[in-house]
Amino acid sequence: HLSNSLQKTFKNLRGYGKLSEKNVTDALREIRLALLEADVHFQVVKDFIRQVKEKALGQEVLASVSPGQQFTKCVQDELTELLGRDHKAFDLSANPTMIMMLGLHGAGKTTTTGKLAAKFSRAGRKVLLVACDIRRPAAVEQLNVLAGQVGVDVVNPNPGESVPELGMRARDRAMTQGYNLVIFDTGGRFQVDDELVRELEELRDMVNPQNTVLVVDAAMGQESVNVAQTFHERVNLTGLILTKLDGDARGGAALSIQSVVGVPIHLVGVGEKTEDLEDFHPDRLASRILG
């Protein structure tokens, strides 16, 4: 546990004067390892450690807390600030409001689409789902089962119809039939798959979503930065949803993406059921990342 190992690092420090350079350097070595093991991107860790060092060296050691606790709090506050500073909710001002979901294979897009449908119908919106995964076996069925559970309608692909064409048709239907929220579930894809990324760009051009949400597995590794950055450059992300936080992954990918791409985390997935969607709490994720 990080705060315990930091306690050991600081155990010889008495409560007077400033934290010494040696104390801080030793403690930062522990922090660096903790962050890397939490899947924070190594470059983000480098920059973060430098930032924290400057802050920590300037601090007076308080008499009321142990130096280890004080240092941990300094790091935790820095992390919380980084994770929470771009906080923004969905843009729900348009009628109909469009939300385009995207992300890597198996990240949780379809399940999260069902969760958002539940959340927004409970809030009184007339929700329409669009099954834009035309590739994965039973992807359309999966979304339809979820839609049935939540009580919302789905636009399903016609044979031979492209994703942009489906998007256009869904948008028209939403406008003529009074839906005020449309969520597009897309198939999993790599940011390096140019043809599939172009499909997303074309869908975005057809539908003009106010919200373009990257769905990210909380256990994602170092490629979180490349994935988020590339998708952001190509389709312009407006938000992030972090899934599978009910697992025991530390969630460092969220910090990596926030630091480099700066896209706000809207919500977090905490289970497989449609009600398992919660608000994002930067302070909770910060202490989870620190371990």
Partner: protein
């Protein structure tokens, strides 16, 4: 000439960062890099080449897996966390078995997730083999039992059983997995002859936790690493191999039934270190 070599020699720091970027466990990366110049022993290979060999040696395996090594009516159980690629891998394995002249059956023991068994049913049509499924919400252990029973009754060589994704930190779900295994034991004491965990290459350090906890629940006999056709390098495999010593059997390289190849240490390390 040795002067030029120094100029394009990667620094230890650069190599360590390459390992970190590939999701190699930070402590393991530091150890390997610290021992690197010693491992080179003044020979004239580049640091990168020595590092490659060190890593290949860590993953080198004795014998590759073949379906023919399995006994008749063998049972292969596929497990792992949510979204790692189990259902797709189950279908790919059935396809590979057919290619090797083995007659497989699939078991759709994911009775929980929306369209979980529908997905495998569609795959069965695409692959050209039968699938045993149960009603949505039915007992997964019962479906697994039925699949193994059908394998024996229909005289199939092999049954590959797909299970629902589950978080390894959820005791009731891990208990269900034990129950599935006990259920298979009831039909055939040695079943499942193989239990493979499907790991997603895009996942970071949590992959070790997954492998460790699943292995503690029901002993793993193989690892399949999927989605290696993306930009992630699955460096987590080094600490998993070191700690658990479970063979890495296959690599998933795409979404089609053909996109599964035997794991090969040299190809893997070449892909990781470029």
């Amino acid at each position: 000439f040795s002067r030029d070599k120094d100029l394009d020699e990667a620094t230890l720091e650069e190599l360590e960062e390459e390992l970190l970027a590939a999701d190699v466990a930070p402590r393991l990366a530091a150890e390997v890099i610290a021992a690197l110049d010693k491992a080179r022993r003044g020979g004239n290979r580049s640091r990168r080449d020595v590092l490659k060999q060190v890593l290949i040696d860590q993953l080198a395996q004795t014998t590759p897996f073949t379906f023919s090594q399995l006994p008749p009516n063998a049972c292969l159980l596929i497990v792992g966390v949510n979204g790692s690629g189990k259902t797709t891998t189950t279908a790919k394995l059935a396809h590979l078995a057919l290619e090797e002249g083995i007659d497989p059956l699939m078991g759709a023991a994911d009775t929980f997730r929306a369209a979980g068994s529908d997905q495998l049913r569609i795959w069965a049509e695409m692959v050209g083999c039968e699938v045993v499924a149960g009603k949505q919400g039915s007992d997964a252990a019962a479906v697994a039992y039925d699949a193994l029973d059908a394998c024996i009754a229909r005289n199939r060589d092999l049954v590959v059983i797909d299970t629902a994704g589950r978080m390894h930190n959820k005791a009731p779900l891990m208990d269900e997995l034990k129950k599935i295994v006990r259920s298979l034991n009831k039909r055939v004491p040695e079943a499942p002859q193989e239990t493979w965990i499907v790991l997603d290459a895009t996942i970071g350090q949590n992959a070790l936790m997954q492998a460790r906890f699943f292995n503690e629940t029901i002993p793993l006999t193989g690892i399949v690493i999927t989605k290696l056709d993306g930009s992630s390098k699955a460096g987590c495999l080094f600490s998993i191999k070191k700690e658990l010593d479970v063979p890495i059997v296959f690599t998933g390289l795409g979404e089609r039934k053909e996109d599964l190849v035997p794991f090969e240490a040299e190809a893997f390390v070449d892909g990781l270190l470029g």
